[in-house]
């Protein structure tokens, strides 16, 4: 693998990681902690929204994130021909 290609692969990987970590941060620290009081004013399906994010919602989002990240990385590996 050429060096420029390795650098491009790594850059794309980093930008993916950053995008996913932003979602991770917003779901847990954002909705579950920092903005929990504001979100608690919104009620849905018997939950206060902030509380739901803190105890269940964030976990659902973490799960979705891991599935999506594994998929995007498999695609990226194929694109740069570094898959196994």
């Amino acid at each position: 693998m050429k060096e420029e290609q390795a650098i491009a692969y790594w850059r794309e990987n980093i930008s993916l990681i950053i995008r996913y970590l932003i979602i991770w941060f917003v779901a847990s620290y954002g909705c579950g902690i920092l903005f929990v009081d504001a979100l608690n004013k919104i009620h849905f399906f018997g939950f206060k929204m902030g509380f739901w994010f803190a105890q269940q919602g964030s976990i659902f989002i973490f799960l979705a994130l891991l599935v999506m990240y594994a998929r995007s990385m498999n695609k990226l590996d194929k694109k740069y021909d570094v898959h196994e």
């Binding site: 692969y9 990681i17 579950g32 105890q55 964030s58 973490f62 599935v67």
Partner: protein, 614 residues
């Protein structure tokens, strides 16, 4: 069949299964012993990771903590699951590509330094022993509670079982036993939860039942209203803080959650699991599988906590909320009174049980006597409590003083009886709790023995030993580790719960930053890493020891951050110091930089399996 016979049968059957698997999966090489030969399917590895991760504490205590502290417990739920996102995105795939056996392996090679390696070994051993002491004790408690042997005998039985399959099978034996243990523990946890949620809300899935409404058959006053809203109202009427909001400051919750997350991602017994899958792609998907299996339990916990609490209040205070006479208490209440997990102190002498905020007994937990009171309740040695001045009682808010002591662990242990489930379910919960404790203890033991035989002996002290001798050393190290862990189980340091904060804080402040920087910052050198690790480690240890063990005053907390959350600050200091030091010291050598380039590219991670076609 009586409950005791059933319990012995279930626990005995599960032990036979574990030992059978251990014999089938005997380890023949160091590679099999350390990383199960590196050929475990990602889904099986995910299941094993989940069993490894969920300890006796997760199984027995987590729902109780959530139940009695509501929103304040959210940090545990988010921290212990969100850590897997950090692990999957930032560490696991690259460590798998690196392709060796242990965390100190990576730190020693990446930072081209045996000092860094030795420092890492010390951290691994320290973190794992603090963690394992609690597990051994947990095993003992489960045995004593369900099988009526004394706690010390319980610890010894646990030691023998773990000894058998961890020493013989190594990682290979442990991995496949943990798959079986996961199945047992998750079944044991969810079955009673389903029934509890169904009885209170009519909803089948506990994961979603938390938002459901209360049934009329439970309490007509609450009927038709969502569980959480009823709970908020009811607990406030009894003088507690609202269930769905917290009492901690935002910054404290933030720091605790972050320390638990980074600590999860940095715990050596979790990281090592990702060395056991065949390649980088499988390391990524295995993290997803692990989180899914963990989430099955962690999404059930908030429902067991909230609905269990509501059910408890309803049972103790009755439909009208003015108390229920002791003679009408269900049998589980009287059963658990015998073990001291529930106790009643009829402070106003009306013969009714009343549950509210504040302490029911002086001097903490009730100490049982052999005597019984006029209503047949078990009496305690605790001195009489002064109603007006009892801690936590606010006559301005609550209708009556609290008369009941309820241990938090009862939320899971008594659940099958509260829900009037058949005896086999109770026996199942016993087998599940034992599975949770043993699986975690075995995973930790393996990490300790590997750190000694591989990192300390083979890589540092006696590099000339051959593979067979290394394997013998690994087995001997497991035996020694089991004995030391057993000693801590038999003579528990009085601060087991507090040491868990220490284990997570240290993992967050030491391992997570150095591994992360080792992958993402090619410029990071050994001077920076060692300085950062030392600063993170020492500051976190000093803070936690001062506030947890030396009785530091709450007012002196730095920015109001609890000791549990200080690992986050230790981690930030680690990063800062490492950066500054690495700027003023030489770049790492060429071959180390080439190694960093190599671990960033997935292909050829399978080189260690070149001879074993998949």
């Amino acid at each position: 069949m009586s409950l005791d016979v059933l319990t012995y049968l279930f626990v005995g059957l599960s032990f036979t299964l574990y030992i059978g698997i251990a014999i089938w999966a005997r380890a023949g090489s160091t590679k099999e012993f350390y990383v199960a030969g590196g050929g475990v399917h990602p889904a099986a590895n995910g299941m094993a990771t989940a069993a490894d991760w969920m300890s006796a504490a997760s199984f027995i205590s987590l729902a109780g903590i959530v139940s009695f502290s509501g929103y304040d417990a959210s940090g545990y739920l988010m921290g212990w699951t969100g850590g897997y996102v950090m692990l999957a995105l930032l560490l696991a795939p690259y460590l798998r590509k690196f392709g060796k056996f242990t965390v100190p392996d990576f730190i020693g090679d990446r930072y081209y330094s045996n000092t860094a390696r030795t420092l890492a070994v010390i951290c691994v051993i320290f973190i794992s022993f603090t963690y394992i002491a609690g597990q051994m004790r947990g095993t003992g408690i489960v045995f004593s509670r369900f099988l009526h042997v004394d706690i010390d005998t319980g610890v010894l039985i646990g030691m023998v079982i773990v000894f058998f399959y961890a020493v013989m099978g190594g990682m290979k034996g442990i991995t496949y036993t943990q798959v079986a243990q996961y199945c047992i523990l998750i079944f044991a946890y969810t079955v009673p939860a389903v029934f509890l949620v169904m009885q209170v809300t009519g909803h089948v899935l506990p994961q979603t039942g938390l938002g459901a409404t209360v049934l009329e058959s439970v309490n007509p006053v609450w009927a038709g209203k969502p569980v959480l809203f009823v709970l908020d109202e009811v607990v406030q009427d009894l003088g507690f803080h609202e269930y769905t909001t917290g009492t901690r400051t935002t910054i404290d919750t933030f720091f605790i959650t972050a320390a638990l997350m980074a600590g999860t991602a940095g715990l050596p017994h979790v990281i090592v699991r990702f060395f056991t899958v065949p390649n980088v792609r499988d390391a990524r998907s295995s993290a997803g599988w692990a989180l899914m299996f963990i989430a099955v339990l962690y999404l059930t916990v908030p429902a067991v906590g909230a609905i269990g609490q509501l059910n408890l209040i309803n049972t103790l205070n009755g439909e009208q909320g003015d108390g229920v006479s002791y003679s009408d208490m269900p049998s589980w209440f009287k059963n658990w009174e015998q073990s001291g997990l529930v106790a009643w102190n009829d402070r106003n002498g009306d013969g009714k049980v009343q549950y509210a905020a504040g302490d029911a007994f002086m001097d903490g937990k009730p100490v049982l006597t052999d005597k019984y009171g006029e209503f047949g309740q078990r009496l305690t040695e605790n001195p009489l409590i002064d109603t007006e001045a009892s801690p936590g009682f606010d006559p301005g808010i609550q209708p009556y003083a609290n008369e009941v002591f309820v241990d938090r662990d009862i939320m899971v242990l008594a659940n099958p009886e509260v829900a009037s489930l058949p005896d086999w379910v109770i026996a199942l919960v016993a087998a599940g709790a034992v599975a949770a404790a043993l699986s975690t203890a075995a995973g930790l033991l393996l990490v300790i023995s590997t750190a000694i035989s591989h990192d300390l002996l083979k890589k540092t002290l006696l590099p000339e030993i051959n593979e067979r001798q290394e394997l013998v050393a690994a087995r001997m190290a497991s035996v020694a580790a089991i004995c030391i862990a057993g000693y801590f189980g038999l003579n528990p340091p009085g601060y087991v719960a507090a040491t868990v904060a220490l284990a997570f804080g240290l993992a967050a402040a030491s391992f997570f930053p150095v591994i992360f920087m080792g992958i993402f910052f090619k410029r990071m050198n050994k001077e920076g890493a060692i300085a950062g690790m030392l600063v993170g480690l020492l500051s976190t240890m000093a803070y936690i020891v001062y506030f947890k063990f030396m009785g530091g005053a709450k007012e002196d907390l730095f920015m109001g951050i609890s000791p549990e959350g200080f690992g986050t600050l230790g981690m930030l200091m680690n990063f800062t110091v490492a950066f500054v030091v690495s700027r003023v010291t030489p770049r790492p050598p060429e071959e180390v930089q080439a190694m960093v380039d190599d671990i960033r590219i997935p292909r050829s991670a399978g080189r260690v399996h070149a001879q074993e076609p998949r």
